[in-house]
């Protein structure tokens, strides 16, 4: 996994809440058996017109947001289906940071597996950020994960919370499975106990 570094990037704005993973990556793209190449389908049904041309009314088609790595978006982002194709598409498109007041549980977990930092803001913080982007489209924010801080030109930045282990794994780009496999002795021990306590699961 790619290590997450401190960066300064354009912040794109989507004033929508309850954006579900069906919208992030519509189901017609879930039939692929590969992990890559989902970015070109991100928000497909909103992003493109019937004839395949760009829908100029869709937020991310705003030329000022081109190259954005930060997505500022409304409450409960990533709800619905558990599809990891959603963070794959987001990451492949170029985002590595999302800022919202809340995320659906599975989506939140999935982000950390794909080098994406989902920052949780309070309602007030989010509104200020949204207003700042709206007033100055193309503005860049700085994300400093090490110090858990977001910095913006108009001073709407804030310190954010993130679990220590998740932060560490993101910064170091660690592979979760590798880390768990270091605990194999404990897993073996647990399993022995499990066989004694729940013999019916092992017949």
């Amino acid at each position: 996994m790619e290590a997450y570094k401190k960066h300064q990037s354009i912040a794109a704005l989507m004033r929508r809440s309850n954006v579900d993973t069906d919208q992030i990556i519509p189901k017609q793209f879930l039939k692929k058996v590969e992990r890559s190449g989902f970015g070109k389908h991100l928000f497909h049904d909103w992003r493109f017109n019937e004839d395949g041309s760009d829908n100029s009314e869709f937020e991310l088609n705003n030329p000022k947001f081109k190259g954005a790595k930060i997505l500022v978006v409304g409450d409960n982002f990533g709800c619905g289906s558990s599809r990891e194709h959603a963070p794959w598409a987001i990451e492949d498109y170029g985002f590595n940071t999302i800022i919202s007041t809340s995320y659906a549980d599975i989506f939140y977990n999935n982000c950390f597996k794909n080098s994406i930092l989902p920052i949780v803001a309070t309602k007030k913080q989010l509104v200020s950020l949204m207003d700042e982007v709206a007033a100055n489209e193309g503005v860049s924010f700085t994300v400093d994960l090490e110090n858990q801080e977001l910095i913006t030109p108009a001073g709407n930045g804030f310190k954010f919370d993130v679990d220590a282990f998740r932060k560490d794994n993101l910064i170091k780009g660690l592979d979760d499975i590798g880390l768990t496999l270091e605990q194999t002795d404990y897993i073996d021990q647990y399993e022995e106990k499990h066989k004694q306590s729940f013999p019916w699961l092992w017949t």
């Binding site: 309850n18 017609q28 409960n76 619905g80 404990y186």
Partner: protein, 465 residues
């Protein structure tokens, strides 16, 4: 210390907490389907890792499978490849797969309980958000992403953060034709789709214990629609009776051992929950969603709200957007909404009980002109059982289609879908934009409400039939 059921299951599955890492929990059962697994197998292969406990896995094909003309090759080449990849992966790793032609085939969350693969007290995962279904058995069951699918295959564990505990207490008696689906929708309406975020819900109270196992599955299935990680119902005699004798249920001496353990699982009297919500079952009317989120829902006797009815600015905007997408006008009576297509099926409402109640309403009626009605059993076993009871005849005589099992119109990946502007009454679980086909408009309801709408051509209060 007094513990909730969630805490008991957590404690009994705790493996280790390494410094600086999240606690590792042991996983008993891993369910699989064709859409969220291929990249996980690929990951294993690249890292040269093996599936640790192949016997803990049960796999099916459900999302992309056709529900008619199954004997023909799958027309969509990408879907075909996904199905073939699943078969190859399962074979290569020695996994139990109920493929399309297998008499046990069906939607994962329908098939798994049918075979007694999930027991009380287990931790169960699947690369699918509706894994919560299995909480009906008092198992901690939750959806995971594909990276986690790979993680569980390789290690039989998952790093987890402890959730908070929410008790939803529902006492009183449901009115006739108000069902588990209506409870689930009413809860989502009350607490919102993010209301349960960060929580595991335990459903308790008289109205819950009275539900059948099928009803409890419907209820727990939609815990995710309220944003919760999982839903739980305490195991009781109904749970044990359901499990006894099924293929993967404990047998002989082990049955008694298991039973003793299962009976120790319910939350201790006086155990502390982080939050408690109470509802009176008698207040729950048959529900109909009017918008593009499961929280945009109301009772059948109500009217569609207007944006001004919401204080919250974001909710107001969401209402406006939803009405536009749904092609509806504020303050229309729910009973005045016409439907073009009716779908009964999915892991929410594709069980035998659902087809019984729908057939009861469809019996001797005819599907309204201009309405298409399709019944898609959740599994071949449900299909067979329904046919033995003559339910297929009732549907066919009334002008319904009677299909082979699969997810079908729940997410419209297999070619069964709404066309632009078409409006459905659907027993599935999500009414998101485009969920049932681009531009399609979905109203979520119970099977009884769906059957009644098929006959009338619009929503009706089934209590008045």
């Amino acid at each position: 210390m007094k513990k909730t059921m969630y805490e008991k299951i957590w404690d009994s599955h705790f493996v280790v907490e390494a410094t600086g890492q999240a606690p590792l929990l042991y996983v008993d059962r891993h369910l699989m389907h064709e859409v969220t697994s291929p990249q996980a197998f690929e990951g294993l292969r690249i890292a040269n890792r093996k599936v640790r406990n192949p016997h803990s896995i049960l796999a099916t094909m459900d999302h992309c499978v056709p529900t008619k003309n199954r004997d023909l090759p799958i027309a969509d080449p990408i879907a075909k490849k996904q199905i073939e990849t699943m078969a190859d992966n399962c074979q290569e790793n020695g996994l139990n797969l109920y493929d399309m032609k297998n008499p046990n085939n069906g939607v994962i969350h329908i098939v798994v309980p049918e075979h007694g693969f999930v027991h009380p007290g287990m931790i169960v995962v699947c690369g699918d958000s509706h894994t919560a279904t299995h909480g009906a058995f008092g198992a901690l069951a939750f959806g995971i992403g594909t990276s986690e699918v790979e993680h569980v295959m390789a290690t039989q564990t998952l790093p987890q953060k402890k959730s908070k505990n929410l008790l939803i207490q529902i006492d009183g008696e449901l009115s006739k034709y108000a069902t588990a689906k209506d409870i689930a929708l009413a809860i989502t309406g009350k607490i919102g789709t993010a209301g349960g975020t960060g929580f595991v819900i335990e459903y308790a109270g008289e109205a819950i214990t009275k539900l059948s196992m099928e009803g409890r599955m419907t209820l727990c299935n939609m815990a995710i629609e309220a944003g919760a990680r999982a839903g739980l119902v305490a195991p009781d005699q109904k749970t044990f009776d359901y499990l006894e004798g099924r293929e993967f249920a404990p047998k002989g001496d082990n049955w008694n051992k298991a039973l003793t353990y299962w009976k120790s699982l319910p939350s201790d009297e006086g155990a502390k929950f982080d939050a408690i919500i109470t509802l009176d079952a008698a207040d729950i009317e048959p529900q109909v969603t009017w918008g593009t989120s499961p929280e945009q829902v109301t009772g059948i006797t109500n009217i569609i709200p207007a944006p001004e009815d919401f204080d919250d600015e974001i909710k107001r905007q969401a209402c406006k957007d939803a009405l536009k997408y749904m092609g509806l006008t504020a303050h229309t009576k729910i009973t005045d909404i016409p439907v073009d297509l009716v779908f009964i099926g999915s892991c929410t409402n594709g069980r035998i009980e659902d087809f019984r109640i729908a057939a009861d309403i469809a019996k001797g009626t005819k599907v309204a002109d201009n309405v298409t009605a399709i019944a898609v059993p959740g599994s071949y076993h449900v299909k067979k059982q329904a046919e033995e009871e003559g339910l297929d005849k009732i549907f066919l005589d009334a002008g319904w289609e009677w299909r082979d099992p699969g997810c079908s119109m729940c997410l419209a990946m297999n070619g069964d879908e709404l066309t632009v502007g078409q409006r459905s009454a659907s027993t599935s679980n999500r009414n998101f934009e485009g969920r049932q086909g681009k531009g399609g408009r979905t109203h979520l309801v119970s099977p009884a409400m769906a059957a009644a709408a098929a006959t009338a051509g619009h929503f009706v209060d089934i209590r008045n039939l």
